[in-house]
């Protein structure tokens, strides 16, 4: 026998509520006999519920209050130890923060720490600045100002830069003089240290008190730019040279599929060396630079003195020629005049050559092409370069992320489906005992 409305949802709910009410009241009192029977059944089933033994209940409650301790030596105990160790390790930072004194009490200590850090950082930065000066030109980039100041310290010693020469003279008075017998000073540097490549000591001159020292300057630098920018860079080098009154002695420019490079040998007036180098360095990233200087003052003075002597001898010979009484004597004087004239011409050429070498600095510029946009990297890049680099970085990261997702998403999908299937299978197998 079934209730006429047993399939009706409302009826089902009403009858179940009646059963619940009977369970709460402990009695079946519904008017409908069918429902009352259900109430009776519910009460009977409830009464059938077994109660646990008091001994078992007490023992289990004791274990529960102790946190269900594992038996010593069991795998569970070992796992508990590992788990508690990990939990303690994870909780340590939080507990340490909690144990710290209040921020107000830590203010003095924090201030002291900040002060020490600031002082230390300041000292370190001072050392670093010195180190930077020492390391100029050894690697990625060279500050054009450093390069120009190095050039100025010696380049201004020439005759064509009287202002700088006066400065040099002022400095030379405070510096020990080099002995007269000292040979021509030659200083050079391969670009690994700006301090070492300073020009010949201004005050250590050949002639104490004299400021018109003659120094041969030789500077080489490597400018780095992307391959596609090398031709334009070559034009810029020429323009800078012309703008500062110099000239291009020789140049080569190569450009092919493997890359681009070039070489320029320039002559820059010594007086314009500083701004010229600054402009050149501003054209691209200075990959390296080197500078050497050779003091040729003594040779210059010697040659000039020899020229003056030769001229004096020539004047003397000319006077003696006027006074010569015999043909043999006149002939002898003429031969000597020819010799002296040759000497004068040679010495004048030597002086002219020396002047050319000291009035114009030799500047060798290597143009090194780089693949892509690497020339913009490093600390010497501009803001645009930094933006480009950041963009490249973001694109690269996005690419990596997409690749990772392309692998991870299918794996996660497969894993999820596997987990779902396993769960369903496990549930079905577990409930198979109820079937």
């Amino acid at each position: 026998m079934t209730h006429p409305d047993s399939d009706n949802t409302a009826t089902i709910e009403r009858e179940l509520e009646a059963v619940e009410a009977a369970l709460r009241a402990g009695a079946a009192d519904h008017q409908d006999p069918f429902v009352r029977e259900l109430q009776d059944l519910g009460l009977l089933l409830q009464a059938e519920a077994s109660e646990p033994d008091a001994e078992f209940a007490e023992a289990l409650e004791q274990r529960m209050r102790e946190g269900f301790p594992a038996k010593p030596g069991s795998a569970r105990a070992l796992a508990d130890e590992v788990h508690s160790g990990l939990a303690a390790a994870v909780a340590w930072p939080r507990n340490a923060v909690r144990r710290m004194p209040s921020p107000r009490r830590m203010l003095p200590a924090a201030g002291a720490v900040v002060t020490v850090v600031v002082i230390g950082f300041g000292l370190a930065s001072i050392d670093l600045n010195r180190g930077d000066q020492d390391d100029a030109g050894s690697g990625g980039g060279v500050d054009p100002r450093d390069l120009a100041s190095e050039a100025e310290s010696g380049g201004g010693a020439g005759e064509s830069a009287p202002g700088a020469a006066q400065d040099e003279a002022a400095r030379s008075s405070a510096e020990p003089a080099v002995p007269l017998a000292q040979p021509d000073a030659t200083q050079s540097d391969s670009g690994s240290g700006s301090a070492a490549i300073a020009p010949p000591t201004p005050g250590g001159g050949f002639a104490p008190g004299r400021s018109n020292r003659k120094v041969e300057r030789s500077i080489s630098m490597t400018l780095e730019a992307p391959d596609e920018d090398i031709p334009a860079l070559a034009q810029d080098v020429t323009q800078v040279t012309n703008r500062h009154g110099g000239f291009v002695l020789s140049s080569t420019l190569n450009s092919d599929e493997e890359g681009a490079n070039g070489f320029f040998e320039l002559r820059i007036p010594a007086g314009r060396l500083r701004p010229a180098l600054a402009d050149l360095a501003g054209l691209a990233t200075v990959r390296s630079q080197s500078q050497s200087g050779q003091d040729v003052t003594r040779r210059h003075v010697t040659t000039r003195d020899r020229l003056q002597s030769a001229r004096a001898e020539r004047r003397s010979l000319l006077r003696r020629l006027e006074l010569a009484e015999t043909d043999e004597e006149a002939e002898s004087i003429r031969r000597r005049l020819d010799i002296v004239a040759g000497e004068i011409n040679g010495l004048r050429g030597l002086l002219r050559d020396l002047r050319l070498r000291t009035d114009f600095a030799v500047v060798s510029v290597d143009l090194a092409g780089t693949e892509g946009d690497s020339g913009s990297g490093g600390a010497g890049g501009s803001f645009d370069d930094a933006l480009n680099d950041a963009g490249d970085l973001v694109v690269g990261l996005a690419g990596v992320l997409i690749r990772v997702l392309a692998i991870a998403l299918p794996l996660a999908l497969i894993a999820g489906l596997g987990w779902l299937a396993t769960s369903l299978l496990r549930r079905r197998r577990r409930e198979s005992v109820l079937a």
Partner: protein, 188 residues
């Protein structure tokens, strides 16, 4: 771990009276959950296993498992009672599978609570009829009735344990109860 105190809406008072339910507390603890549910869990497991010793082992195992997994409980997935009974049910079913106790479910339940001399003869008879009728139900139906009348769960909680909706759980429960009633009629 803090448990949100969720009192089953329609837990029968008879079962509730046997349980030390801590009413009026906002923060429930695992100990409180234990106190609130231990007799019901045992009764439910006992109804499935029909073996007191095995029921005690499985009950202890269920509470220990729940204690160790207590951090995995999520309130949005149901009440703590439903979560705990799910664990107990899985443990009991695993035990049944492990021990090949299918016959135990379908067979005559052990008479641990046999009527005493003080029981009325009519009540004893009715209990016997109900036990015979229960034996005619399938495992799912007995499981459902056990969750309701031994475990004292609401229909919503039963739905959580079985993975069905509250309405579906109620319908199934009504059907099982009706079937049991018919089996009792047939047996008497």
């Amino acid at each position: 771990m803090n448990w949100t105190h969720v009192r089953s809406r329609d837990v029968n008072e008879a079962v509730a009276e046997r349980m030390p339910v801590r009413a009026g507390t906002d923060v429930d603890t695992f100990a409180a959950l234990y106190q609130r549910t231990f007799p019901r869990v045992f009764a439910y497991v006992m109804s499935l296993l029909r073996d007191r010793s095995a029921a005690e082992d499985v009950t202890a195992q269920a509470f220990e498992r729940a204690y160790r997994k207590r951090s995995s409980y999520r309130a949005r997935r149901g009440s703590p009672e439903a979560w705990l009974f799910g664990i107990a049910r899985n443990a009991a079913l695993d035990e049944l599978r492990r021990r090949g106790r299918r016959a135990g479910l379908e067979g005559e339940p052990a008479d641990h609570d046999a009527p005493t001399a003080e029981d009325h003869a009519e009540l004893a008879l009715r209990r016997e009829v109900v036990r015979e009728a229960l034996a005619k139900l399938d495992g799912h139906e007995r499981d459902l009735l056990s969750l309701k009348f031994s475990g004292g769960l609401s229909n919503a909680e039963i739905g959580r344990v079985l993975g069905v909706s509250e309405t579906n759980a109620g319908t199934r429960l009504h059907r099982a109860l009706t079937k049991l009633r018919k089996a009792c009629d047939d047996a008497s």
